[in-house]
Amino acid sequence: MAAVFSAELMKLRRSWMPAATVLTAIAGPVFAALAVWAVLTLEQSNVPVPQIDVTWSSFLVEGGSFTILLVFFAVMLACAYVFGREYQEGTLEILAAAPLRSSDIVFGKLAALLAWTAAVSAISFAASIVAGYAVGMGPLAAGDLWSAFGIHVQRTLVCFSGLPLVGWIAMRGRGLLLPATFGVTTVFAAVWLRSLPPARYIPYLMPAAGTPESGVAFPAASWILVVLTMVAGMAVSLWEMTTQDAV
């Protein structure tokens, strides 16, 4: 598994994926900061604008729900790329001819995606803080920082839990198109349905729906569904890699 993990990271680093994912991850904070800057500027100009409570907490947590959606989309794209390109470019034949078990291939790729997701998520969070300072939001209290960071980590874990199923879709679809379409659809669905109660129980919608009320973003049942989705995704990916022809 370690061999696949290091090989995957090397392949990812040399692809267009770093630029695409980092740009997508930064885009969220930048747009959020632009919105805050516009509100603050209009308020200073005595132009009547809707009352928005612009605090670090709302910026990092409320704004963060959209930021994390872009992170989710970026890592779903990376996942589609990691699994789908092997079929699309015909490189799976080489990978499958290496002395690796199917589980090494699947879990090695997922481990690389976990590292990728963590890195992109960290960049996104850091970019949010930089963007907040850039628009003059004032000092960030340690309490706000840790609270927002905790929620960001929870949302990141939810994002990762959805990736094995995306990987399986890429393997079934033998390419990037199907999983990329799935990624776009779920992101739009998450934005559209975020205020509905079921959104808190569907892992692909949860990152946008998880607004904390009492320090806990999601109920326990949501986490059970998150774990089940991840395990089911891993199981079908492993089944696909083990039983289906590698070409």
Partner: protein, 315 residues
């Protein structure tokens, strides 16, 4: 249970190996044995099932029926040890396009758990690619990409090389180098080579044993020493009227092992020592003979005979 691979000299053995694709049988009951140190060439036309056989030997695709044993072990998807000892060049060698040639081999080094990084430069050197190691794969020529694919197959110093169309996309110099390399690997390092090729010329040059695959079945399986027997000598006669010439040699000279190739050209496969008599007979009966030579059929012609017979019959 008696093992079909108990003989250590047998590197590949298949029994009734078959593969169906959507009710079409691509490989049909293949029984094949490849001895250690051999260069076995499986030749056949496009779609004859060669690539399917190569893929089944590595467990990349699963047979519908039958079994394959490679290096003494049954081929299964879960059988990792076989793949540690086999180098593979696919038909359409695919690469991660963002990587350089050296990085491509680095990925392979990691996947195979090879400790020595110097091995990358060694195989690049063997394939004459040291100077283009830092070029991206997408900027390499077809010939260079194919050589990189072969370098990748050699990286972990395999005991068995499975090469699918290795000479394809190579220029003449690279083909010669590949031939010398394979001979070196076989005779100096006891590597066994199993190659699939539709280029009968390359197979004829390097193989110690040749199998002809036709419509998924092994139509011929012969040692290189037997190959000569299939290269029949014949008289090729260029005449003014081939239909009348054919009638004459059949009726007057009592020869029936002949073929009219195209208008004006006959091939006579028997009584080659009667060339003067044939020439005289034709000329005395008003047939102009512009050319009469003794030729030897190439293996390619024999291959076309074996694999083209069905199609001609159908037409």
């Amino acid at each position: 249970m008696p093992s079909v691979t108990s003989t250590t000299d047998v590197v590949i053995r298949t029994r009734g190996l078959s593969k169906d694709y959507h009710r079409v049988r691509a490989v049909d009951g293949l029984d094949l044995t490849v001895q250690r140190g051999a260069i076995y060439a499986l030749v056949g036309r496009c779609g004859s099932g060669k690539t399917t056989v190569a893929r089944m030997l590595l467990g990349l695709i699963l047979p519908t029926v039958g079994e394959a044993y490679v290096l003494g072990r049954p081929v299964r998807r879960t059988e990792v040890e076989i793949r540690e000892r086999v180098g593979y060049l696919p038909d359409k060698s695919a690469f991660y396009s963002g990587l350089t040639a050296r990085e491509t081999l680095e990925v392979q080094r990691r996947l195979f758990g090879i400790r020595a990084r110097r091995r990358i430069d060694e195989v690049l050197d063997v394939m004459g690619m040291l100077d283009c190691g830092d070029r991206k794969v997408r900027h390499l020529s077809e010939d260079e990409r194919q050589r990189l694919g072969i370098a990748r197959a050699l990286l972990h110093e395999p005991e068995l090389l499975v090469l699918d169309e290795p000479a394809q996309r190579l220029d003449a110099v690279s083909v010669r180098n590949l031939r010398e390399l394979l001979e070196h690997l076989v005779f100096e390092r006891q590597v066994t080579v199993f190659l699939c090729d539709q280029d009968i010329g390359f197979a004829e040059q390097v193989a110690t044993r040749i199998g002809v695959l036709h419509n998924g079945r092994l139509a011929q399986d012969m040692d290189s020493s037997e190959v000569g027997e299939h290269r029949r000598d014949y008289l090729e006669v260029t005449v003014s009227d081939s239909r009348r010439a054919a009638w004459l040699i059949e009726e007057l000279l009592d020869l029936d092992d002949y073929a009219v190739l195209r208008d004006g050209v006959l091939r006579i496969y028997e009584s080659l020592d009667r060339s003067a008599e044939i020439n005289r007979c034709l000329q005395e009966n008003g047939i102009d003979v512009s050319r009469l030579t003794t030729e030897r059929a190439t293996l390619e012609e024999y291959f076309v005979d074996v694999t083209g017979a069905d199609e001609e019959g159908e037409q």
